[in-house]
Structures are given as C-alpha cells and as structure tokens.
C-alpha cells in the first residue's frame, strides 16, 4: 500500500498518496481529498489528526450494491476439496475525525458488473485480479486487500468469486498487508454461492476496522442482500460410447 500501513493518522500540514487517492490536511484545517473521480473538501476545526481507515469498496461513486465480484485473470480449476485460494479485492479509504466519516475515496478504478440476468440479477462492484494457490505468489497492489477463500463442493472451472462486503471486518498482518475475512465458497453443479465469515483467513492477523459508516443505509442494504450466488457455465464431457 505505498508503504502506508492502514489504518493511519494524518497530522495537520501533511499529505499522503495511496494508490490513485491523495489526501492533504492543511495547516488551516482544510482537508482536501481526491481520487480519479473528483475531489472533496472539508474543514476540520481544532483537531490535530484525521484518521484514514480501509473500508470495503462499495461506497464510491454511489452505493448501489454491497457485493464485490472478483473476476480472475485466468479461469481456475478448483477441486472443491476444502482448499484455500488467494486473490485480491478493492478497498476504499474513509477519512474521518473522532468516528465521524468525512470523505470516502477510491484508490483504484471503479467498475460495476451485472451478475445474473437483467430482471433477477444484481449489480456488484467489479475487480479483475489473479488467483493463486499460495499466498506468497500473490502480488498485492495498491488499493486492494487480500482475499482468502475456501472452496467446497463439486470441482469446477471458477471464473471469479463474489461476496457481500457490507459488514465485513478487515484484518492486518505483521507486514501491514490488509485482508478481507475468510470467504467460504460452495460449488454445486452450476451454482456457486459464497459468503464472508467472521474469521480471518490466517491465524495471527489483527482485526483492525471499526466501522463508522452511516449504518442505517449500509446496514439495511447489507442485511437485505442475500449470499452471493451465481451460476457458471459448465462444460460436461460427452461420455464415450461403448
């Protein structure tokens, strides 16, 4: 994360750049925060610091969904034998003071996608990332957190995974890398369903996020959203005639 370990505190008179987002906290208390979609200003009275925390990437540019869908750069065959895989999912930065959120920023490009059909489907935040079997092989980029997911069920070619990120907690390892909670993925025929757990994907991770977003809107959206379910294309091998 540009050597910046989140969450962090920014003192007056300093500025910081994380991914494509930049935050400047001027001496006169003016806070200017920008991402590729625009800038926002706020005036903070009598506070020496502003806090910058990671939040799930579901707020910018408008809150349409609490789902995040990670499209794998390569389709991967998963055996469904309770194995764990690793990928990345986007985060946003929330700038706040004393638990009051002021500005949210997207440190990476925002893209949305439709999961399912036009009538019954749903919109999810879209992100393209690699999938690896060993965490060490994963290159963590700025503006993203690590996602560990455990796959159980039928073997499938998995094009991506999604999850409801509305009320998740973030974790951090000793190197300062961010993690989404462990996602469980169940595969059954063409149906892939997944949901975040309350557990970290690894032991020895520190829970860091204390959410302070507008709970009414987010909470109702996240609560009313069922687990992420998608159907995938399955190519069945034709049986060889005797």
């Amino acid at each position: 994360m540009d050597n910046n370990i989140l969450p962090l505190r920014l003192r007056r008179g300093n500025s910081i750049k994380i991914g494509e987002a930049s935050i400047e906290y001027k001496d006169d208390g003016t806070l200017v925060a920008c991402d590729r979609y625009g800038c926002a200003r706020a005036v903070v009275e009598e506070e020496e610091f502003v806090d910058i925390e990671p939040v799930p990437s579901i707020h910018r540019l408008y809150m349409e969904t609490t789902y995040i869908y990670v499209d794998f750069t390569d389709r991967v065959y998963v055996s469904g034998k309770n194995e764990i895989y690793w990928t990345l999912a986007p985060i946003e930065l929330e700038v706040g003071v004393n638990g009051v959120a002021l500005i949210r920023l997207a440190p990476s490009k925002i893209k949305l996608t439709l999961i399912g059909d036009l009538i019954e489907g749903f919109i999810a935040r879209y992100y393209k990332a690699p999938i690896v079997h060993k965490l060490d092989d994963l290159e963590v980029v700025s503006g993203a957190a690590i996602v560990g997911f455990r796959v159980k069920g039928d073997p499938v070619f998995l094009p991506g995974i999604g999850f409801n990120a509305g009320l998740v907690t973030f974790y951090r390892d000793r190197r300062g890398r961010l993690y989404y909670p462990l996602i469980t993925v169940n595969t059954s025929g063409r149906i892939v369903s997944s949901r975040p757990t309350d557990s970290p994907p690894l032991e020895d991770l520190e829970a860091i996020s204390t959410r302070r977003v507008d709970k009414t809107r987010l909470f109702s959206l996240a609560q009313s959203s069922p687990p992420f379910v998608m159907s995938i294309e399955v190519i069945r091998r034709q049986p060889i005639p005797p």
Binding site: L61, Y62, K111, L112, T113, L114, L118, G121, F122, T216
Partner: protein
C-alpha cells in the same frame, strides 16, 4: 262571518296538534340528547381516541418503519393501517346504538350500489387503483412513462396517480387511465442500455475510432463490465460512417452515464484525430469535356 266562525272553531284544534307535535319532537330530542347523552359522548370519545390513536401509530410508523422498508410498500401499508384503526373506532362507537358491523356492511352495500350508479368513473378509478397497488407495475419513486407523461411516481392513491415530470410539474392521472395505458418502467431491470450514435468521416481511421470509443466506455465507472460495452458500424450513410456505441448502466445512473459519454465522445475523437463530418454532398459531372464557366461574385455586387 261564517268563514271567520269556521276559522275560529278550527284554530284551537290546530294549535293543539302543533303543540303535541312539538312536544313529541322535544321528547325525542330529550331522549337523544339527555337520556342518551352519556352514550353519545362515549361514542364521540371513542371516535376521537381512535383518530388520535391512528395518528399516533402513523407517526410511530413514519419514525421507525418508513426508512426501513421501500416506499411502495410503506405508503399503502400506512394508509391501510390508519383507516383500519379509524373504521374500527367508528364501529365500536356505534355498537351501543344497535348498529352492528354486519349492518354497516349491508348499509355500505346498498350505499355502494347507489353511489356506484352515481359515480361509475370514480369506482372504476378506485378499482384500477386497487389493481395497481396489487400488481404494482409502478411504485413510488419509479421513473416511468404512462401515455405521454414521463417522470417519477410521486404518489399512488386509490383514485389517482401523481407523477412528477422531469421538468418538475405534478401531473395527476386517474388510475383508470394509468391501468389501461402502456406503462414503461425504467427502473425494474437491474441495468439499462445507453445507446449513442455518432458519425465519423469516411477518411478517418475506423479501427482507431472504434478503439477510442470502446476505451471510453471501458473506463466509465457506470458502464458495466458485463454485459460488455460494444461499438460497431451501424450504417454507411451519405456523409459519414455511423457508429453505434452501447453500454449497460444501472438505471439510477443511466442518464448521468449517457450525458457523460456523449460529452466526452467528441473530445476523445478529436484527440485521436477522428473527424466527425458535417453533412456534405459530392458533385460528380458525367461529362467533363465541356468547360464550366464560374463567376465569383462579391456579395456586395449582388
């Protein structure tokens, strides 16, 4: 004199009848207002209490429930609960007078027939309103088009639907009309297509034009990754190669997406050196052997 006598003889009788009639009315009034006064007061109190209770519950619902459930569900629910409490209060208030619920329903039935003949149109609107609330082809807050009225649904009552048009006017449409018209609801699907046509010059690099437009759509945050944006040649027209750019966007931001793409399109094409031509006409002469005399005339000479 005879007449006078007759009058004189009749007068005492008349006075006596009027007096007994007045007495009877006064007795009746006394019976109603004095003997039954406590019951009437009780009934009035019950009605007043039920109205206050209904208002209180409505307030409570607005405070606790309105933000949690969708407007299209909340509004009919609020109306139904409010009137249910008031009607229950009226029924309870009238029961000491020997007016039962079944009697009211029967009376209502007769009244319904009478009113029905008198107000067929209103009844038709009422029935259409009920069907609209049940079928829900439109909900409060939906961007819609009904007949030639386009805007956002502001309110759906039992008799009419009010639409706030895009230019900020409130249009009241009888429910009967809404129910029988073709309704286009722009928000019922999860995505809506943005369609833009643009002409590029025949001498422009077509692949380049397609690529820069595709890139613009790919980079727009509201243009969905799936269904993927597409750009293709739609027509070889008289003055330009007409390209069509399509992408899908969530309905609440459809208009924003459309105007942003339309605005940026010219800029990216200009930057890429792709020309958007004016309408033009090439004139080809069949016989080029004959000389053509051309006279350039100053506008002032005309």
């Amino acid at each position: 004199m005879e007449n006078v006598d007759v009058v004189n003889t009749v007068k005492p009788n008349n006075v006596s009848t009027t007096s007994s009639f007045t007495t009877s009315i006064l007795d009746k009034l006394r019976e109603i207002f004095i003997d039954k006064a406590p019951t009437i007061l009780e009934a009035a109190a019950i009605i007043v209490v039920s109205v206050f209770l209904a208002l209180f519950i409505r307030q409570l619902m607005r405070k606790n429930l309105k933000m949690r459930i969708p407007g299209h569900v909340y509004k009919p629910l609020e109306t139904a609960i409010f009137y249910l409490i008031v009607i229950l209060g009226v029924v309870i208030a009238l029961s000491p007078f020997g007016i039962s619920l079944s009697g009211l329903i029967l009376a209502g039935g007769f009244a319904g027939i009478v009113i029905g003949f008198a107000a067929q149109q209103s009844l038709s609107n009422l029935m259409s309103g009920i069907f609209l609330l049940v079928e829900q082809p439109l909900r409060i807050g939906d961007p819609i088009q009904v007949a030639d009225v386009s805007g956002v649904v502001h309110d759906i009552s039992f008799l009419s639907t009010r639409i706030r048009t895009w230019d900020g006017q409130i249009v009241r449409i009888p429910n009967n009309t809404v129910f029988n018209e073709v309704i286009t609801n722009y928000i019922r699907t999860k995505a809506r297509r943005v369609d833009i046509k643009i002409g590029v010059h025949y001498k422009s690099d077509l692949d380049k034009a397609i690529n820069v437009i595709k890139e613009l759509l790919d980079n727009h945050p509201y243009c969905l990754a799936n269904p993927a944006p597409e750009v293709f040649v739609e027509e070889y027209s008289d003055s330009a190669i007409v390209l069509r750019a399509r992408c899908w966007a969530p309905p609440p931001v459809w208009f924003t997406t459309k105007i942003e793409i339309q605005t940026k399109l010219k800029k990216v094409l200009d930057e890429a050196g792709v020309v958007i031509p004016y309408p033009q006409l090439d004139l080809h002469l069949v016989s080029s052997t004959a000389d053509i005399s051309v006279k350039i005339q100053d506008r002032k000479e005309k």
